[in-house]
C-alpha cells in the first residue's frame, strides 16, 4: 500500500478529491438502486458490480495516464480531433438512439457503449489549448490568431449539437473561457459572443419556422417547463425539490431515502437530490460543491507549475469542464436550470462516461505534477513560459 502511494505522483489533494467522489458514488448508487423496483427485476447487484468495476478501471486508467507526459497528449490530439469528428458523424448516422437523444456508439466485443461527445470534449480541449498556445502572439489578429482556434470548436460543437444541445453549449462555453484565459482581446471575445448569441437566435428562428432540427421542440419544451412551475413535464424537478426538502440540514442517514422510489434516475441524473436526501444538505450537498471547487482551485494553483501554456490551458479547460458539468447537474436539481441530462462527474452511474472523467482527471494530474518532475521536459515542443499563469 505504502509502495503504491509512493508511486502516486501528482497532487495528493486531487487524488483524495477523486477518491471521495467515487466513494460517495458507490454509496449513493448502492442505496439508490436497492429499491423494490430493481430488486424485483433481480439485477440491482449487477448494476452495482458493473459500476464498481467501471470505477476501478477508471482509477487504473487515471493512474496510467497521470504518469504520461502531457506532450504526448498534445501531439495525439492532432490526430484524435479527426477521430472524434469521424465518430461524431458516425454516431449521428448510425448511433444507438437512447432516450431520443445522446447518441451512443457500441464498442464491439466488450458490450459497452460510449458517447463520442464524451471523447470529443477532452480531445477538443487539448487541441484548442494547443492551438491557443501556438497562436498566443497573434491573438490580437482576428483572422490569423482567433479564426484557427474557432474552426475546430465550431466543427466539433456543430457535430454534437443535433444530438445533445447542452453538451455542445457547455463545450462552446469552456473553449470560450479558454480563449478568455489565453488572452484573446475583449473586442474579439465580444465578436465571438455576439456570433454565438446570433447562432442561438438563428436556431430559434429556423426551429420555429421549419421544425428543424427535430430535437428543437424538446429543447424548447424543457426551457418552457423550467419557467412554468405547474407543468406536467416539470414533474422530475418537483420530485428533486421534494427529495432535497426531505433531506433537511441534518442527515437522514444512508439507506433511508424514499425518493429513490419515484425519482427518475436516482443513480444518474438525479443523484444529487438523492444524496442530499440521505446525507443532508451540509454533509451531502455542500460537501459535493466543495469537492468540485477544491478540484478546480487546486488545478488553477498547480497548473502554473507546468511551464507549457498549452498544458496550463488544458488543465484549466478540463477542470472547468468537470466543474461546469457538475454545477449544471446541481442547478437542474435545485431548479435553477432547465433539465439537461448532464451527469454529475465521477458520482453518477454513467457507464463509460466515468472512464472519460477519469481520463480527464488523469490528464489534469499529469499536468499538475510537481515542478521537479516536469523539469526534464522543460525544453520540449512549446516555449517555456512561466508568465502565462502567475501563481
Amino acid at each position: 500500500m505504502k509502495n503504491l502511494l509512493n508511486k502516486l505522483q501528482g497532487d495528493r489533494t486531487i487524488w483524495m478529491v477523486t477518491f471521495f467522489l467515487s466513494l460517495i458514488s458507490i454509496l449513493a448508487v448502492y442505496s439508490a438502486i436497492s429499491t423494490l423496483a430493481y430488486k424485483a427485476h433481480g439485477n440491482n447487484l449487477r448494476f452495482l458490480i458493473k459500476h464498481g468495476l467501471m470505477i476501478v478501471a477508471g482509477f487504473g486508467l487515471m493512474y496510467y495516464v497521470h504518469r504520461v507526459q502531457f506532450k504526448y497528449f498534445a501531439r495525439l490530439s492532432l490526430i484524435l480531433i479527426w477521430v472524434a469528428a469521424i465518430m461524431l458523424v458516425y454516431a449521428l448516422v448510425f448511433g444507438h438512439n437512447l432516450n431520443d437523444a445522446n447518441r451512443w456508439i457500441a464498442i464491439p466485443l466488450i458490450g459497452l457503449t460510449f458517447q463520442p461527445s464524451d471523447f470529443a470534449k477532452i480531445v477538443l480541449v487539448i487541441y484548442v489549448a494547443r492551438v491557443l498556445a501556438q497562436k498566443r502572439d497573434q491573438l490580437h489578429d482576428f483572422r490569423n490568431g482567433v479564426v484557427p482556434v474557432l474552426i475546430p470548436i465550431v466543427v466539433i460543437c456543430g457535430l454534437i449539437l443535433p444530438a445533445n444541445f447542452s453538451t455542445a453549449a457547455m463545450l462552446a462555453s469552456i473553449t470560450f473561457l479558454m480563449m478568455f484565459l489565453a488572452g484573446v482581446p475583449f473586442k474579439h471575445m465580444s465578436k465571438i459572443f455576439i456570433a454565438g448569441f446570433g447562432l442561438i437566435v438563428a436556431i430559434i428562428v429556423v426551429g420555429e419556422t421549419t421544425g428543424f432540427p427535430t430535437r428543437y421542440k424538446t429543447w424548447k419544451n424543457r426551457i418552457i417547463n423550467a419557467m412554468n412551475d405547474d407543468s406536467d413535464g416539470n414533474y422530475q424537478t418537483k420530485l428533486a425539490k421534494y427529495a432535497i426538502h426531505e433531506g433537511g440540514i441534518i442527515p437522514k442517514g444512508p439507506g433511508t431515502g424514499s425518493s429513490r422510489n419515484f425519482l427518475p434516475h436516482p443513480y444518474s441524473d438525479m443523484i444529487y437530490p438523492f444524496i442530499i436526501e440521505e446525507y443532508g444538505s451540509v454533509l451531502g450537498g455542500i460537501t459535493l460543491v466543495l469537492l468540485y471547487l477544491i478540484l478546480l482551485f487546486r488545478t488553477i494553483k498547480l497548473s502554473v507549475n507546468n511551464p507549457k501554456m498549452s498544458a496550463q490551458l488544458t488543465a484549466l479547460g478540463l477542470s472547468f469542464m468537470l466543474v461546469i458539468q457538475a454545477f449544471i447537474n446541481m442547478a437542474v436539481a435545485v431548479s435553477l436550470f432547465p433539465t439537461t441530462g448532464q451527469p454529475l462527474p465521477m458520482v453518477s452511474m454513467g457507464g463509460t462516461s466515468t472512464l472519460f472523467t477519469c481520463l480527464a482527471i488523469g490528464i489534469i494530474l499529469s499536468i499538475c505534477r510537481t515542478k521537479d518532475e516536469t523539469e526534464e521536459e522543460h525544453a520540449a515542443s512549446d516555449q517555456p513560459n512561466n508568465q502565462v499563469m502567475p501563481a
Binding site: L36, A37, L177, F180, L181, G183, P185, D229, D230, S231, D232, Y235, K238, L239, K241, Y242, I244, H245, G247, G248, I249, S258, S259, N261, F262, P264, I276, S281, G285, I286, V289, L293, L296, F297, I300, V323, F327, M330, A331, V334, L336, V388, M389, P390
Partner: protein, 605 residues
C-alpha cells in the same frame, strides 16, 4: 493585458455560483413552499382507507341497509404503456373513445399524473373476470368501494340515499375529498357523521407503473374506524304494508309511536325501490325519477304543505277550551248562512260538533277566541290581540316548526299571525271576519302530514309529544340523540283532551264520518278531513287517528291526494295499518276494506 485579473474574475464567478447554490439549497429546505405538497401528492401517496358505512336495522332487527363491495377501475394516464385497446374495451365494456376522452380531460385539467376514474362500480362478479387480465394493462388498476344495498326494498325516502359529493357539500365540509360519497337524504344524510365512520390513511408509494408498494414511510398508517350501526324507528313490515296500501295513489302516511315520537312508518306514494338508486344505474334512474310527473322523489310526508282541513278543528277545540272561550257544554247553532255544513244537526255541543265536523260551530269558536273584546274601541285592534293568543297556542302543537325532528328537508308549514295579515291586508285593515276561514283549517294555514301525525300524538298523550325521529338506537343497544329524550308539554289541561278524545272515538262509531273504517276489537280515535283543491280537482282525503284509546300505541296521519272524502279513502288505510301493527294480521272482517283500498287508483286524477 492583465491576465491575472482574468483569472481572478473567473475564480470570483465560480465562487458566486457556488454561493448561489448553497443559498438555493437552504431556500428549498427551509422556506415554506407549496410545491412540496404537490410533489408529495404525486409520489408519497396518502391512500384513504374507506371504512364500511354503518348498517341500518329496523326496530325488530331486520336489516334494511347494508354494504356491498364494488370496484372502481382507475387509470393514471401518464403511467399507461402501449396496450391493446380493443381487448381492454371489450373487457370493460366501454368504447375506445371513453378512454381518449378521459385522457384528454385529465390533460386539460393538468391531472395527467393523477389517478382518473375510468369505470365506476364494477360488481364483484364482473371484477373477477377483469382482475385476471388487468396486469396486461400497465397504469390501470382497481380500487374497491362499498355500495349501499337494501335487502327489504322499502322506505326509500325514510332511509335516504348516498351519492357522490356535490361541489357545495365539498366546500362546506373539509372531511371529504372530491371523489367521495355522502348521505344525500333521509337517515343517510341526518346520521352521515355516525354512519360514515372515520377514514384511515395508508401512506404508500406508487411505483412508476402505478402499483402500490408496501414501503415503510416515516408516517404511521391510520386504520379506518367503521361507521356506527343504527337501529331505526321503522317497522319494516308496517312500512311495507303502508307502501302496498298506497299503491296507485299519490299521498303519504306517517305513523308514530306517541309515547316515544318514534316514526314507525313514513310512506310517500308513489314510492320506488331504493335499490334503483345504487351503483351504475343510479344516474339513469335518478333522471327517470326526477322527471316522473308523480314526483316520487318528493317526500310528501315531510315536504308537502297542505291546508289542514277539518282535522284542524281538533287543535281549535283544545285552544278554545284552554283560553276559556268555550266549555265542552257550549252549544252553537249550525248557522249555514256564512259557511256551509253537511249532515243533519243544528245545535251541537263541542263533542258532537267534532263528530259532525260542524263548520259554523268552529267559526264561532274561533270568533270567541279572537274577538274577546280586549280593545273595546276597535274590532281591528281586538282581532290583532286575539290572533296573537291564538297563534301562540297553535304553535304549541308544533305547527310552523320543524318539530325538532331529525329528517332532512322538512318543511315547517305556515301559521299566519298578525305580521302575516298586516303584510297581506295592511295594518288594522283586517278583523275576524276577514280571516275566519282559518277556523275550519282552510285559508292561509299550511301544515305537513308529519305535523298532523304529531298532533294525533299530542292528543293520544293528552298534552305532550316527543319530537318525531327516525333513529332509535345509535349503535346497537345505544340511545337516540339527546333531543329525542325530551318531552314537549303543551301546557293544556289534560281534562280538555277528554272531550276531544271522546269525540274522536265517536267518529269511528256508527254515525261518525269514518265509522265504516272501524276495525273489530280495537278502539280507534280519529278525525276525517277533506282538503279542498283549487281548479275543480277532487279533494285530498285526510285522516288522523290513534289507537287504542287508552294507552295508545300508534298514531297515524294519512293523506290521499285527489281521492275525495277522508272517511272513505284515508281512514281505511289508517285502520288497516293499526290492525297490522297491533294484531300483526288483518281480520277477515277487514278484508273487503283492504281490497277496496288496494284496487283504488287515483294516479290519473
Amino acid at each position: 493585458m492583465n491576465l491575472d485579473g482574468r483569472r481572478i474574475t473567473i475564480i470570483l464567478i465560480v465562487c458566486v455560483i457556488a454561493i448561489i447554490f448553497v443559498i438555493r439549497l437552504f431556500f428549498l429546505q427551509v422556506v415554506n413552499s407549496t410545491w412540496r405538497e404537490q410533489a408529495t401528492a404525486l409520489t408519497e401517496e396518502e391512500i384513504p382507507l374507506y371504512p364500511p358505512r354503518g348498517i341500518i336495522y329496523d326496530r325488530e332487527g331486520r336489516m334494511l341497509v347494508t354494504n356491498q363491495t364494488v370496484y372502481n377501475l382507475m387509470v393514471v394516464p401518464k403511467k399507461v404503456q402501449p396496450f391493446d385497446t380493443t381487448s381492454l374495451c371489450k373487457l370493460l365494456r366501454i368504447q375506445p373513445s371513453d378512454i381518449t376522452a378521459l385522457f384528454a380531460k385529465a390533460k386539460a385539467r393538468g391531472e395527467y399524473h393523477r389517478p382518473q376514474l375510468l369505470v365506476e362500480q364494477i360488481t364483484p362478479a364482473d371484477y373477477a373476470a377483469i382482475s385476471e387480465q388487468l396486469y396486461k394493462f400497465v397504469g390501470f388498476y382497481a380500487e374497491s368501494r362499498t355500495l349501499r344495498v337494501y335487502p327489504q326494498s322499502v322506505g326509500a325516502l325514510f332511509l335516504g340515499d348516498v351519492g357522490k359529493i356535490s361541489p357545495s357539500e365539498y366546500k362546506a365540509n373539509n372531511y371529504y375529498t372530491k371523489l367521495e360519497y355522502i348521505g344525500k337524504s333521509g337517515i343517510e344524510k341526518a346520521y352521515e357523521e355516525e354512519l360514515r365512520g372515520v377514514k384511515g390513511i395508508k401512506y404508500a408509494f406508487r411505483d412508476n407503473v402505478g402499483n402500490i408498494k408496501d414501503q415503510e414511510g416515516d408516517k404511521e398508517d391510520k386504520a379506518a374506524i367503521p361507521g356506527i350501526d343504527l337501529i331505526c324507528t321503522m317497522d319494516a313490515e308496517l312500512q311495507k304494508y303502508g307502501e302496498k296500501l298506497m299503491q296507485n295513489k299519490r299521498g303519504c302516511i306517517v305513523a308514530i309511536e306517541p309515547k316515544t315520537g318514534e316514526i314507525l312508518a313514513m310512506v310517500s306514494a308513489p314510492t320506488y325501490d331504493p335499490n334503483l338508486l345504487v351503483g351504475r344505474v343510479r344516474g339513469h334512474n335518478f333522471n327517470v325519477l326526477t322527471n316522473d310527473p308523480q314526483k316520487p322523489l318528493f317526500n310528501r310526508a315531510t315536504q308537502a304543505q297542505y291546508r289542514p282541513g277539518s282535522i284542524f278543528k281538533l287543535a281549535q277545540s283544545l285552544t278554545a277550551l284552554s283560553v276559556g272561550a268555550i266549555t265542552p257544554q257550549t252549544r252553537i247553532h249550525c248557522n249555514r248562512g256564512i259557511i256551509g255544513c253537511h249532515g243533519s244537526h243544528s245545535y251541537d255541543d263541542l263533542e258532537m260538533a267534532i263528530v259532525h265536523s260542524c263548520n259554523p260551530y268552529f267559526r264561532e269558536v274561533m270568533h270567541k277566541v279572537v274577538e274577546g273584546n280586549r280593545d273595546p274601541k276597535s274590532r281591528f285592534r281586538d282581532a290583532r290581540l286575539g290572533l296573537e293568543i291564538w297563534q301562540e297556542y297553535i304553535k304549541r302543537f308544533g305547527f310552523g316548526s320543524d318539530l325538532h325532528c331529525d329528517i332532512p328537508g322538512v318543511k315547517t308549514g305556515n301559521v299566519p299571525g298578525v305580521e302575516f295579515y298586516d303584510k297581506w291586508y295592511g295594518k288594522e285593515q283586517w278583523a275576524f271576519s276577514t280571516i275566519y276561514s282559518l277556523s275550519i283549517g282552510e285559508g292561509e294555514m299550511l301544515v305537513t302530514p308529519l305535523q298532523m301525525c304529531n298532533m294525533a300524538c299530542i292528543i293520544a298523550n293528552r298534552g305532550w309529544y316527543v319530537p318525531p325521529h327516525t333513529v332509535k338506537q345509535i349503535g346497537i343497544g345505544g340511545k337516540p340523540k339527546d333531543d329525542f329524550l325530551v318531552r314537549y308539554d303543551l301546557g293544556i289541561d289534560t281534562a280538555h283532551f277528554t272531550t276531544v278524545v271522546n269525540a274522536m272515538e265517536k267518529v269511528l262509531q256508527p254515525g261518525g264520518t269514518a265509522w265504516r273504517a272501524a276495525p273489530k276489537d280495537i278502539v280507534v280515535c280519529g278525525k276525517t278531513g277533506t282538503v279542498q283543491n283549487a281548479g275543480g280537482k277532487e279533494d285530498h282525503a285526510v285522516f288522523i287517528c290513534f289507537a287504542p284509546k287508552e294507552d295508545p300505541k300508534i298514531a297515524i296521519a294519512v293523506y290521499t291526494e285527489n281521492a275525495g272524502f277522508g272517511g272513505t279513502w284515508s281512514a281505511p288505510v289508517a285502520t288497516l295499518l293499526i290492525e297490522k301493527y297491533l294484531n300483526d294480521s288483518i281480520a277477515k272482517s277487514s278484508e273487503s276494506r283492504e281490497k277496496l283500498i288496494l284496487d283504488a287508483n287515483f294516479l290519473d286524477r
